[in-house]
Symmetry: C2
Subunit: 370 residues, 2 copies
DNA sequence: ATGATGCAGGCATACGATTTCACCCACCAA
DNA sequence: TTGGTGGGTGAAATCGTATGCCTGCATCAT
């Protein structure tokens, strides 16, 4: 068919279509963009152009589109911590939801303090470029964004560690939606979960099983985000008048962190009979540690997690946890982001706040106190 | 500082720099791109331009760059299954590695049979556009790519289910690197692991512990990818002369799949004393099922996984598995992709093949046969 | 003194699509 | 016949960057 031509120009341009359909390139643009043109197009011309485009296998060049200020249909996702299974699930939901809206997702990962390093290694490719461009560190931080390359940005998790990124975002024109913002200032439209209600649901469940010696393992973010911990403290004070001293353990937000935290708790003279964890990841670490030190779950110890990540239903034993409505939250956020991407700039920065309610999911890691 | 100006033009262009530094736009481009120009630039001019750029907070517009055929520094990742924790880890590695090379990652997910649906819902945004563009289904499938928007494509997992995607890739000029291609035809440079060696390592370990009744749980991909299963069959025949009948269970590549498979195995009159799973995900399902039906691991049953995903070290009990060298594989692939992105088109499609060796990681889910 | 060299930098154009403006033509009313 | 009028189309500017080509201006050798 288009043999040798496709070898040279695999993707035909509008000019090619125009030549083949014997119209001008402007007409091709008008027909293919499908936008309600100000100018009328004869039905037959329209058909001819469409047919030609199909035959030649036309694909619009999004870069050229974007250059004119049109949308690139790209959503940038900046995620605090990649290795966290919770965010892995979030990203999946985000990608699926975005594609359903006709958008793709560009992943950005905010390097800890690695601005320098990233710049250096990028230099491999860019030659002197990296060194030459002004304000290189700042550029490295906002790498994903490269403003205007992207129609909207979704912030996943606490971004407090990256003020530079937030500042860049603030000064740019891209709409931003923040999810699970933690301690980040509420400067963008935000979607979050009612952490306090979630923690209370888990704790109420433990109390209803007769537990009193309930410890809390808090996955500590770099900036003290203590909503879940505070919810625990308040709950304990309400129900028992006081928080058992030493019953709050803080640890890294990892499996190993939860593991270590439980070991510390069980080493106490008065070990708890139940543990609430601030995330499933640490809860799974707790499960593992309990098994390692010979504590039976749920016989000797009840464990409640938070998030209901994918593996939670298949741990040993299956984890009782609080389901984070990820798809609802992400779905809402994407809808919001897409809407903002189309709206005039001035309407975008209203820091709205939408809260979703988590719900308890009882499985096998909790049992009545012995 | 730049008060009202930033309100109108948040991101200055090269033209702005040029005006401010009293040089031509071309000079600005030459200085900022840092490429070894054919044209000499006076050091002082260079400095002046750089300073001006810094002061005005210049950021290159990647779209405009890309339009000229330059690189967009974007790598497209197409992943077979998002919900798989294995691929979550892979994506993390990919993002980190890509950013180290100065690239960002665009996530694509190949919809099962959902071409229609995706197109419809995308229509929300594009109005008649979606319907108007030729070959809409094809466009939906290659959504991420939008050829030339991306410098290279990394294929994650088996793409056999998506011949349309492969065809598009074949006809486009983007370099492609395939990772863990499974049954996909070897038409691109490929990076894979030595599955056979990995399975044999796991099985040898079980045999050295005295196990003979070793079953295999195969996470079945849509296209029968049976390298791991075949490795098991061969191994068993070599060591025991035959494969115990009914000892190969196939299941969905999910936690629930592994769960169900183990239940079937343990229901047999001659249950195995050890199980090798083709992936950690199903192995974790196996662990969970064993616990549910009262089979102790590793007392009654030894379990070996494959992949060494993040949670594997923290399951109950910690999973003995075969470590998939993800970072090595991804690192090699990204280096390759970046190199190909810079090379002339004709050198790109040589279907090279690089194989990495997995290694056994012994933890607590295996023990001598009782 | 003068053409040859080399250094610095500007001009113009290309990239592919969008969009504004202008144009042509047919048809209708006056 | 002529001045609309409006439908249908094309030419050209534009977006921001990269680059081939050309032009000044010194300096240098002859």
């Amino acid at each position: 068919m288009s043999g040798d031509q496709s070898a040279k120009r695999p993707v035909p341009t509008m000019r090619d279509i125009a030549a083949a359909a014997a119209v001008s390139q402007s007409t091709v643009s008008r027909v293919l963009s499908g936008a309600p043109t100000t100018v009328p197009i004869a039905p037959e011309t329209r058909q001819r152009v469409l047919r030609t485009a199909r035959e030649l296998g036309y694909r619009p060049n999004p870069l050229a589109r974007g250059l004119r200020g049109a949308s690139t249909n790209l959503i940038g996702a900046v995620v605090r911590d990649f290795s966290d299974p919770f965010f892995a699930g979030v990203i999946e939901a985000l990608v699926v939801e975005s594609m359903a809206h006709g958008y793709n997702v560009v992943l950005g990962h905010v390097p800890g303090r690695a601005g320098e390093e990233a710049g250096d290694r990028a230099g491999e490719k860019a030659g002197e470029k990296a060194a030459a461009v002004a304000g290189e560190e700042a550029v490295a931080l906002t790498a994903v964004l490269e403003t205007r390359h992207i129609d909207a940005v979704v912030l996943l998790g606490d971004m407090q560690e990256h003020p530079q990124l937030l500042a860049d975002l603030r000064n740019s024109i891209v709409p931003v939606v923040a999810l699970w913002p933690g301690t980040s200032p509420r400067e963008f439209p935000t979607v979050d979960a009612d952490d306090r209600a979630g923690i209370r649901a888990g704790l109420s469940h433990l109390v209803s099983l007769g537990h009193k010696r309930i410890a809390f393992v808090n996955a500590e973010l770099p900036n003290d985000y203590r909503v879940r911990e505070d919810a625990y403290l308040d709950f304990m004070r309400e129900h028992f008048g006081a928080v058992p001293p030493g019953y709050v353990e803080r640890c890294a937000s990892t499996l190993a962190g939860g593991d270590a935290a439980l070991r510390r708790l069980m080493d106490r003279p008065d070990p708890p009979t139940a543990v609430a964890a601030s995330t499933d990841v640490v809860a799974i670490g707790v499960l593992h540690a309990a098994h390692s030190v010979g504590v039976t779950v749920p016989g000797d110890l009840s464990v409640v997690g938070f998030d209901d990540i994918l593996i939670a239903a298949h741990t040993v034993p299956a984890l009782t946890t609080v389901r984070m409505p990820i798809s609802e939250i992400v779905g809402y956020a994407v809808t919001q982001a897409v809407r903002l991407a189309r709206e005039p700039v001035d309407a975008q920065r209203v820091p709205t706040l939408e809260i979703f309610k988590p719900a308890l999911t009882v499985r096998d890691s909790t049992a009545p106190r012995r």
